[in-house]
Amino acid sequence: MTATIPVPADSSPPPVDGVSITVDGVPMTVPKGTMIIRAAEQIGVEVPRFCDHPLLDPVAACRMCLVEIEGQGKPQPACAVAASEGMSVKTQRTSEMAELAQRGVMEFLLINHPLDCPVCDKGGECPLQNQAMEHGRSESRFDLEKRHFDKPINLSAQILLDRERCVSCARCTRFSEQIAGDPLIELFERGSKQQVGIAEDRPFDSYFSGNTVQVCPVGALTSSQYRFRSRPFDLVSVPTVCEHCSSGCGLRTDVRRSTVLRRLAWDTPEVNEEWNCDKGRFAFAHAATPEFDTPLVRGDDGILHAATWPEALERVAEGLADARGRSAVLTGGRLTLEDSLAYSKFARAVLGTDDVDFRARPHSTEEADFLASVVAGSGLGVTYDQLENAPVVVLAGLDPEEESPIVFLRLRKAARKRQLPIASIAAWATPGLGKMFGTLLPTAPGAEGEALSALARGGDTLGSDGRRIAALLNEPGAVILVGERLATCTGALSAAAALAHTTGARLAWIPRRAGERGAVEAGLLPGLLPGGRSLADAQSRAEVAAAWGVSVDDLPTKVGREVDAIVEAARAGAYNALVVAGVDPFDTRRPDDVIAALEAVPFLVSIEVRPSAVTEFADVVLPVSTITQRAGTFVDWEGRTRVFGQVFRTSLALTDARVLAMIADELDRPVGRQDVAGMRKEAAALAPSGSGRREVPSVAASSVSASSGQAVVSTWHHLLDEGTLQRGDDDLAATARTAVARVSAATARAAGLTDFVTLSTDAGSLDLPVVVTDMPDGVVWLPTNSHNSNVRRVLGVDHGAIVSLASGGGA
C-alpha cells in the first residue's frame, strides 16, 4: 500500500497525568479529564447515550448515560463527569441505581416518539431503536396523546427535519455552532415544545449541514437525497476517499446493487475526524452514471461513432504513430496517483515528450518551480495535527472554508479550543476567517508576495497585527499555508518559500483538487519526474528509466512546455497529437484559446469519464471508469497517501493507467499491464531518492494596480459552485452561496455603483449585486465559477487581472 510518500516519524505526544479508577470493578488508569463514558469504552462497556458525542462539548442533557459513582447519592451522567483519582464507577451492568435510571429515561424518550421505525430512514441503524429493544419496556405505559408536529419541514433544500422524532439531544445544533461555526439551526421554544428550527427565510445553508444527519441519533434529520431511498440492511458499505478536494476525507460509500445511495464521513481521526463537507457527502451524481458505454471514433462524416476497443486503439495508434516528440499531454487535477504516474510515464517514455502538465487552471513557471522544488517528493509534511498544535498559521491566497473545508474545520477547532492565532493574506475577511477568529492582513491581488516578504522583515509595514504574526512565525511549529491562486501572484510563492526559510516556519501548499498533489508527486509538470526528480538531472533520469523498465535514451531531455505554452504551440501547429484527460477548458484562464488549440491539433485523444467540451473535438474518445468503479490513491495536501478500494468490484470499466498500457502495447512500446497493484509497486520504486531537486524560485514580487473605472480582480471558488463534479445534485446546489461582487466603499463611490455592478473585459461582462466590503480600494472580488459569476469563461481573466467597473442594471 505504499506510494511515493515516506512517513516521517511522528513526535510522540507529551505525557499526561493519569488517574486510577475502577469501572464495574475493573481497575484502570486513564488520562486526567477523561469522561467516564470514554473510560468505560476502553474496557468494552458501552454506556447508552444520545447527546454525548466525543467531538462535541458535553451537555449531559439526555440523561441516558446515568451511572452510579460510589459515594454519590444520585446517579451521574457518565458523559460529563471526568474521572478523578480513586473513583469507583458502576454502570448499568453492575448497578441497580444506574440500570433503573437508564430505564426510566428510556421510557421518557419513547413516550412522545412516533413508533414509525418501519418507515424511518434510521430504522435498523438507530441508537434509540436499539436501546429500546435492549432496555425498554415491551409495552408502553403512556396512553395519553403523543406530541404532534406537522410532518417534515425543510431546514434547507437538502436537510429535512421530522420534529416528532427529535429527542432534543442538541447534537445537530451543537455541531453547527461548535464545529462548523454556522449557528443557523437552533433549539426553539422550551419545555416539551422545544424543537430544532431555523429563522424565517434563513435556511440551514451551511457547507457542513450533512454532518447533522449523520450525528442525529434518531431519524429526525434526513437528507432529501437519501430520504426513503433505502434501508440500512440493504446497503453495502465501502470505505472510500473523497475525490473532490485535497482535504483527503475518508468516506463511507453505501451502495445497493449498482447504485450509490449515500456517502458519509468515515471516522478518520488523523484527517477529517468524523466530519466532511456537503460537497463530499452529497455531490456524487457524477460518479453514479458512467456516461460512455464504448469508445468513440470520429468517422469520415465528422461524427463520433461507437467503436470496439480494438478499433479505437488501432485508430489511436495511427494517430500517435508520428507524434513522438511532437505531442503533449494535459491531465487536469483529478487523477489518482496511479493514473498520474501512468500519464507521466506515457508522455515521457511512450510519446517522448516532456510537454505534460496537470494544471488545467491558471498557473505560472514560478509555480512549477515552486512545486518541483518545495512540494514534490517532500513526503508527509505539515499534518492536520500540526495545524492544530501550531503557534500560528498564516494563510496566503487560501480561504480554507471554500477551498479545503476540512482544513477549515481543523483550524476553527484549534482557534476555538486553544486560541490558535490565524492570519490571512487576502483582500477581505471572509466568513470563514471570522469563524476561525482570524486576523486579516488586507492585501490587494498581486500584492501577496509583498505581504509575505513584509512578514519576513518583521511585519512592520503590516501594522501591529503584522508584527504580532511575524513574531509568532519564528516560534517552532509555525505554519504557512499557500493556496492555488498564489500561482497567479508574481513573486508570491517565492516569497512564501523565503519566509519559511527565514523564520523556520513550515510551509504547505493546499491545492483545490484531489489529484493535484498526486500529480506533482508523479511528475506531471514539465521538467519534473516522479518523486521530485528533475528531468535535467542524469541520475534522476536513470533512476526513473530503471523503475519504468525503459532505456534512458527513450526519455526526453529537453524540458517541455507548460499548459499555456502547450496551448499556444498547439494553435501554432507544433504538435501532431494531443492527449487530454479530465480537463475542462473552462477551468483554464483562457478557455477560448484552449478550444482553439483542441480544434487546431491534427489528432486529439480524449480519455474521459463523461462527455466534455473536449469530446466535441476529439478524434478518439476512450472511456474510463468513474471513481466508484476503480481503486486508487489520492495524495492529500499533507502529502498523506489516501488509499481506497473499488466500490463496484464487478465493473469492467478501465482505469486511465490500463488504457494507456493498451495504447502503449498498440504502439509497440509496452509499459506493462499497469493494474493498480503494479502501479503501486512502481510508485514505491519511485519514492524520492533526494537526487535532482530543482532550485527554489526567487521571482521578485510585482504588483498590479488599476486606474480609475477599473479594478483588480480578486477571485476564488465557492465550495459549492458550477464545478463539473457537482452537476446533477440540485438540492445541494440550492444551498450554495449566491454570487456577489465585493468592493470597498470608496471603490463603489468612485465607480458610481449602487445595487449592481457590471464587470467587463474584452472577452465579456458580468452583472452582479454589489456588497460594499471592508477591503483595499481598487479591487473587486467575485467567486470564480458560480451561477452568474464565471470569471474565466465569461471574462477570460483570473485573480490579479484588471477589469472595468460600471454601474449595473440588475440581472
Partner: protein, 436 residues
C-alpha cells in the same frame, strides 16, 4: 412567649419615601458603606462568614463561604449577580423589598462587590415587574449621583458599575446558571457544574450569585456586627427573614421575623385563618417543597427543622390552604406550572412533567384511573435526582407530598372532578369572610 416580629429590612416601609435615597439614608442608610470600605475586603468576607448568614434564595447556602470561593488575584474580572427573578409559586418577598427598600440592596451590592473584588454587578429582575424594576433602577441612579457607585467610590480607589437587567418570563432563570446564560443573551437553560459560577460564571469569569434578600442583609450586618445578627434565629439558621404569608389567612402579607418562628405564630400574626376556615395544608417555602399539615404548625421555621420534617424551608414564603381547597387541583396546577416552565434541556423533566401533568389532569377532571397514581409516583421517582437541575426535582415534589396526606382525594378523582368535590367559589377571597 410568642416570638416577636423583627422589622429590620421592613422597618421603614411605611415612610412615604422609603424607596428613595433620602428615605433610606434618614435611618442610617449608606452608613455601612464607609465602614466596609475601611475594612480589608477579606475581612468583610470573614465577617459575613462569621454571621452564618445563609442564602435567602431557597437553597440556604452559607453566603460568606460562597464569597470565599471566588479565586483572588486570578487576573480575571469578577462579577456579582443579584438574583431577583423571584418566580417560585408562593414566593413574594423580594419584589416588595425591591419596591419599598431598594437601597438596602444597592448598598449591599456595593459592599459585596468590594469584598469579592468585583467591578461590575448585575441585578437580574424578572421582566414582569416594571414597578420593582423602576424602583431598583432609580435607586441605582441615585447611588451613582451620590457617588456611592462609579469610579473611585468615596476616594477608596474602588470602582463599580451596577446594571439593572430585565428578564423576559422564565422561572428557570431563577436557577443561577440558567440565569447566567440568560444574562449572556441566551436561552435560560442551566449549565453543567462544575465549573461553579464562583470559578467560571458570567462570561466564564468568577461570579457570585446571591438572592436580593441575602444581599440586602449585608448593610445591616456591617452596621451592627456578628453578635447582633446572631441574636436572631438559631445556631444553624441565624438571623431574621422575610416571610410572605399567603392564602387563607386573614391578613396575608410580609412578616419579618427571626428564623425559628413557628407557622402557628406567623398565622397568628396574620390574623389567624379567615372566617370559618380550618387549616388543611401549608407549604413552608414555595411550591417546590413538600407540604405539611396542622400537625407541623409548631415546628420552628429553620433550615434544619424543616429538613427534619421531610420538607424544606426554601424561600420561607408559606402558603396556607383551608378546607375549601382541592389538593388535586392545587397539585395539578403546580405541575402545569412546572411543565410550562421546564426548560426542555433534559429528558426526565421535559417528558416527565408533561406526562405527569396529563395524568393529573384526568384526576382533576374526575376520570383518573387508580393505577395511574402508581405511574405518577413512578414518574416522580424517574425525575427526582436524575434531572439536570433542581427544577426537575421540584416538579417531582408536590405529588408524593400530597399523596402522603391526601391519597383519598386522588382516588376520588377517579370518579369525581375537583370542582364537584370542592365548590371552586368557596376557596376564593370573595367567598371567604374578611381578608382585611
Amino acid at each position: 412567649m410568642a416570638t416577636p416580629l423583627t422589622p429590620i429590612l421592613t422597618a421603614h416601609w411605611d415612610d412615604p419615601d422609603s424607596f428613595t435615597i433620602d428615605g433610606y439614608s434618614r435611618h442610617g442608610g449608606y452608613d455601612a458603606l464607609p465602614k466596609a470600605l475601611a475594612m480589608e475586603p477579606d475581612a468583610v468576607i470573614g465577617l459575613v462568614k462569621d454571621t452564618g448568614l445563609r442564602g435567602r434564595g431557597g437553597a440556604g447556602f452559607p453566603t460568606g463561604l460562597k464569597w470565599s470561593f471566588v479565586p483572588q488575584n486570578d487576573g480575571k474580572p469578577h462579577y456579582l449577580v443579584v438574583n431577583a427573578d423571584e418566580s417560585e409559586p408562593g414566593a413574594c418577598k423580594d419584589m416588595p423589598l425591591l419596591m419599598a427598600n431598594p437601597h438596602a440592596l444597592v448598598e449591599g451590592i456595593i459592599i459585596t462587590c468590594y469584598a469579592i473584588r468585583a467591578r461590575h454587578a448585575f441585578i437580574y429582575v424578572r421582566g414582569e415587574v416594571p414597578h420593582a424594576i423602576r424602583r431598583v433602577a432609580a435607586a441605582v441612579r441615585e447611588a451613582y449621583q451620590a457617588g456611592h457607585i462609579g469610579t473611585n467610590i468615596h476616594g477608596s480607589g474602588f470602582d463599580l458599575d451596577v446594571v439593572v437587567h430585565s428578564g423576559a418570563g422564565a422561572y428557570i432563570c431563577g436557577e443561577e446558571t440558567a440565569l447566567l446564560d440568560s444574562l449572556e443573551g441566551r436561552r435560560g437553560q442551566p449549565r453543567l457544574k462544575p465549573p461553579f459560577p464562583a470559578v467560571a460564571g458570567l462570561y466564564a469569569s468568577p461570579t457570585v450569585v446571591n438572592n436580593v434578600e441575602t444581599i440586602s442583609n449585608i448593610p445591616y450586618i456591617i452596621r451592627n456586627g456578628v453578635d447582633w445578627f446572631r441574636q436572631f434565629g438559631t445556631e444553624k439558621s441565624p438571623g431574621f427573614k422575610l416571610f410572605s404569608v399567603s392564602g387563607h389567612v386573614r391578613s396575608p402579607g410580609v412578616y419579618e421575623a427571626p428564623l425559628g418562628i413557628t407557622m402557628r405564630e406567623l398565622i397568628d400574626y396574620a390574623g389567624g385563618m379567615r372566617e370559618g376556615s380550618e387549616l388543611k395544608f401549608w407549604v413552608p417555602g414555595g411550591s417546590s417543597v413538600p407540604m405539611l399539615t396542622a400537625e407541623h404548625l409548631d415546628l420552628p421555621m429553620t433550615y434544619e427543622a424543616m429538613a427534619e420534617a421531610g420538607t424544606m424551608l426554601g424561600t420561607a414564603t408559606p402558603m396556607v390552604f383551608d378546607q375549601t381547597v382541592s389538593v388535586v387541583k392545587t397539585v395539578t396546577r403546580w405541575l402545569e406550572f412546572y411543565k410550562h416552565e421546564s426548560c426542555g434541556k433534559c429528558t426526565p423533566c421535559r417528558e416527565g412533567t408533561s406526562w405527569m401533568t396529563g395524568l393529573l389532569e384526568t384526576f382533576e377532571a374526575g376520570h383518573g384511573q387508580e393505577s395511574d397514581l402508581q405511574i405518577i409516583d413512578d414518574i416522580c421517582h424517574q425525575i427526582a435526582g436524575r434531572s439536570f437541575c433542581a427544577l426537575g426535582d421540584a416538579a417531582a415534589t408536590p405529588f408524593p407530598g400530597a399523596m402522603k396526606y391526601f391519597r383519598d382525594e386522588f382516588v376520588a378523582g377517579t370518579h369525581t372532578s375537583a370542582d364537584d368535590a370542592f365548590n371552586p367559589v368557596a376557596s376564593t377571597v370573595l367567598a371567604g369572610a374578611s381578608t382585611r
